[in-house]
């Protein structure tokens, strides 16, 4: 039984099919192919943002490091919740680009706008701030690393804060599609395009072999973007590998189908875990669920159910993550339910 993560299998069949169908077309390299252009047009429509500039890169850490470095100047760091992916699980990619990740204690994985505002106020009130790292942007994830969702009101508060301090808001959407159909979600892709200065729509975790679609919403694509990503080893010769897949994801309503199927599966996973008596680390309305287990329980259960280690809780219990994904089936969940009821 495999619930350890949402990148266990290859690509959604329709996505793979698109790669095959286009395989023998002669296409220009380095991101200049027509699939990329079609994708941008389609996303402008979906996002209701006619000026959106879309660029594709291979992975999430790459996307985060590129955007953060491009949007900050040398004196600036990025404000992030202390559970943010950039703060914890990117092996120092942001620092490697010479910027500090300035952490604010997260509230169940989320960055609270009023805490961030206090940080900014105190920073500029401090007479010594010219000897400190300037907070130059805000980074959040939607859904968060713990499956949480910002409400539209919460995002508006963050966007307002950014506007007040004239710094950009950047949203890591590695699992954005999985949040869309959550019953708790009130943020549309169009809302995000309006509120964020830059965000990305993750492909790797929702059915692509690889790929993340960066969206610059405010006519703010960095100058010489292709040169910049070539320099950092992020420009694929066969850019088609990314554009063909994303174009297939958004062409009709595949992305919505994936979102809705997953919403159903993740709710069932949550229900199963509740009904079989597991302690939840926190409530998550999206495709990742976090339960607390003793080390022994964790080791035993792991022999039968694929799960991921996610640190320790306050009581020293292991926090284990179970995830559903586009490849999760009802049969998988039946099997899990049977096992857990039998323990």
């Amino acid at each position: 039984m495999h619930f350890e993560n949402d990148y266990l299998q290859g690509a959604h069949p329709a996505v793979l099919q698109a790669l095959m169908a286009s395989n023998e077309e002669n296409l220009p390299g380095y991101g200049a192919d027509a699939y990329g252009a079609k994708l941008q047009d389609r996303l402008r429509e979906i996002l209701a943002c006619s000026q959106a500039q879309v660029r594709l890169v291979a992975g999430g850490t790459q996307a985060n490091a590129l955007v953060i470095d491009m949007l900050l100047d040398d004196t600036e760091g990025v404000l992030a919740p202390d559970t943010g992916h950039v703060a914890v699980h990117e092996a120092g990619a942001i620092e490697h680009s010479r910027h500090k990740v300035i952490t604010i204690p997260a509230q169940a994985g989320k960055l609270d706008a009023s805490l961030a505002r206090t940080y900014l106020e105190n920073f500029y009130a401090d007479e010594t701030h010219p000897h400190m790292v300037f907070p130059g942007m805000i980074y959040i994830s939607q859904p968060t690393e713990y499956g949480g969702l910002y409400s539209k009101a919460e995002l508006e508060a963050l966007a307002k804060l950014c506007q007040d301090y004239q710094i950009p808001l950047f949203v890591d959407g590695a699992r954005l599609i999985y949040g869309l159909a959550s019953p708790q979600n009130d943020v549309s892709l169009a809302d995000l395009a309006q509120l964020a200065d830059v965000f990305y729509i993750g492909g790797t975790k929702v059915g692509l072999l690889l790929g993340e679609a960066l969206v610059f919403t405010k006519n703010n694509l960095p100058k010489r973007f292709d040169t910049l990503i070539k320099q950092r080893g992020a420009l694929l010769a066969k850019g088609r590998v990314l554009s063909v897949q994303f174009e297939a994801l958004f062409k009709d309503r595949l992305y919505l189908d994936i979102a809705q199927d997953n919403a159903r599966h993740s709710q069932r996973l949550t229900q199963i875990l509740h009904q079989t008596g597991f302690e939840f680390y926190l409530d998550s309305p999206t495709n990742q669920q976090f339960i607390c287990l003793s080390k022994d329980q964790y080791d035993q259960l792991k022999e039968q159910v694929g799960m991921s280690y996610f640190g320790l809780d306050d009581k020293g219990q292991v926090v284990a993550r179970l995830a559903t994904a586009w490849f999760t089936t009802d049969a998988d969940l039946d099997q899990l339910e049977n096992l857990l009821r039998s323990l």
Copy 2:
């Protein structure tokens, strides 16, 4: 007619087939899957190098920048021919990793070992060298950016030089497979594994969607390699995308078939260009040919034949590149021949 480069089409059908066949397997992420292990075993066999350590990354500039930065210390730069890819066409990726590319005038794209030796001798004889960048490794490409091949004797001379100065020899093999079956080639993959400290076998240009296979031959895989590439945004969540493709390329003799087919096609291309009277910029025994055209000729011919701009020659003529690849067919060459004969 498309001869502009060797990454115009997607993947070789057998490679694409391997991706499809494995698509629904649940595989661990971040390069820990069984396909990667099988590939390493197979390459150790082909390379006759039982200690070879194989790691996969997405592209050539990424591979070059990662290896060079990992093998140099902060005081060191990389010695390269002045036509080397790292010196010209990587948008400063090496400098972005904080290392100087120390260029030696190339001889038809190749680095001459005796010129490099003179550089090293003069460097250490210069009393001021502690205020200069130390030459810390040698970088070459096989085949070179201009299609040339180092002979085994030439590689041995470079390897000897590296040994004398205790610096590594790194070989960029983005088109390595295309050199293997060239009538001029006397360097086997096993020779390369013996002479180079690190090299890579390009996949992107010989029939993979993307991917380059790094080979560390001397038990010299950098410590915490996965952390290092995660940090630089080069660790794919679905490492399978690379391992499955490479495993297919080397499983049986697909790589050799591709090499031999291409050798035949590239020789025919050379012949066609010779017979139709084009001036060659230099002689190339591999899949890229370079011809000199007036700007007008270039613009006209380009309307019918895909070619790439490769700078100007001494007389101010455009150097144009035509390339064959795994997807080139006899029919493509027939069509080109007909056109050129009719001009």
Copy 3:
């Protein structure tokens, strides 16, 4: 009245005198002069460490950034108390060298060895740690940024922890001399040389125009040190400017006289502030005292007494720093006492 910091005046007269006396000597540049050699001999004697390697740089932020970058590999960050200078007041110098500052909540400015041990234990227990920044060294300041002193036992606990994890202990001694004669101090320079892998003795704040003396105690001077600091713009052509001053500081017992005079003055400052009823932010046994004032009090008092802003306390009061230094006189303190008693 000037108590705002300990770098308000130029150099101690004896130090300035040494610069003048040596001014017309023709000396080799870039740190190769005889004064540097004499200084190293003398410090080996004082430190009871015959293998100590001494190198001089211009300032504290420069010293910290150089040492931390030289001692870490690319996967590593530096563990520091969250009030540490490198974490707060160096404008991101450590991140600019591409390393994360991993902060541990400070205990009155100090890093508690058991908290640091817990961090290290949890780090290696976390299955995802290869995707995190490795803790590669420990940084502390003696005295701390809040004037505190580590006891010998506390330093031994940190040194033991470093040994257990095979990481170096680095001590920022920008104000080290001011701690030596504090009644609370039980750590000699020789103790420090034994316990720390690298430390530095600040000159700028104890009577030099500029300069910090780095001491590598374990035969661990980084390879090509001069090239490394030349590259970072830290190698002065006239290295004599640093060596002559430091040699004067340590030649006889000037450094001890400065330490003892200051101990007397700083105790008197503490006494005056206590007796005139100020609230202390924390207890400091060295040359800096921290008092809590309402914003109005701070603004008023600052018109007559030079002080520095040091953030806000929990109640929102301004924390103000008053410092004594080698140039503080009894008359200065009399004047301050008179003023404060008259308020």
Copy 4:
């Protein structure tokens, strides 16, 4: 006999006197003292440039690396003559800041504007230039590393080129004062302020203990300059050390006296070397002279006369540098003349 370089002795007596006279003044740190303000006013007057912004740093390599990094964006490198200090003798400081030094073959140490123009024209004509490092500024030295001087017409041609391509012109003036009184010089400080976007006036080599005065002439001081140099370890706590010295150098006409004395001494040195039959590597009108010696001659002469090694000439002879400086006396030159005549 000491002619090996121009930083053999401490400071000019008048400069040292200024340090002593101001020693007990309580001055704000980090460059905010009144001496710096006075210096800026005075330089604006001398430079006939009322908007000049003056900032002080410790050394030449530091100055070069800071300015070049601040003025370039990530896609850009700096165009320099291949003998330029930044290209050869700064241990890779520019690459360490992640920028390529793009070298143009120097003409007797100078960058020829028409060669640079050809480089820029070819760069933008090359269809692959987005995969190359963009030439983002021009760096030259006045006088050059080989003592040469750009004429006003040559500087105007470079300034025109920079204007045409909208890139800044940066002039390294480590020995600028020594060029001012050369009979061949037709460039005033005011000319330089008009033609260069940024330049610096070296202090270290003309009579200061340390220090270089950066001049931003076009209202182009980088944003948050102090934070940027703090981050790179280049902000001295006691900024007075630099400002007091420079203020003394420019207050009256000390800088002109030094320039004129040196012009006289350097002409005499040239004359002595000519008359005693030495072969010159090239003609230099400023304080450095370069002669060619066999290795044996070099080793022998060096036992009696301080000289510096400056590489090899085309015939394999050692190029030796002899320099005069503010501390050179007629007696020194008499002694040298007597020795050379007696050989």
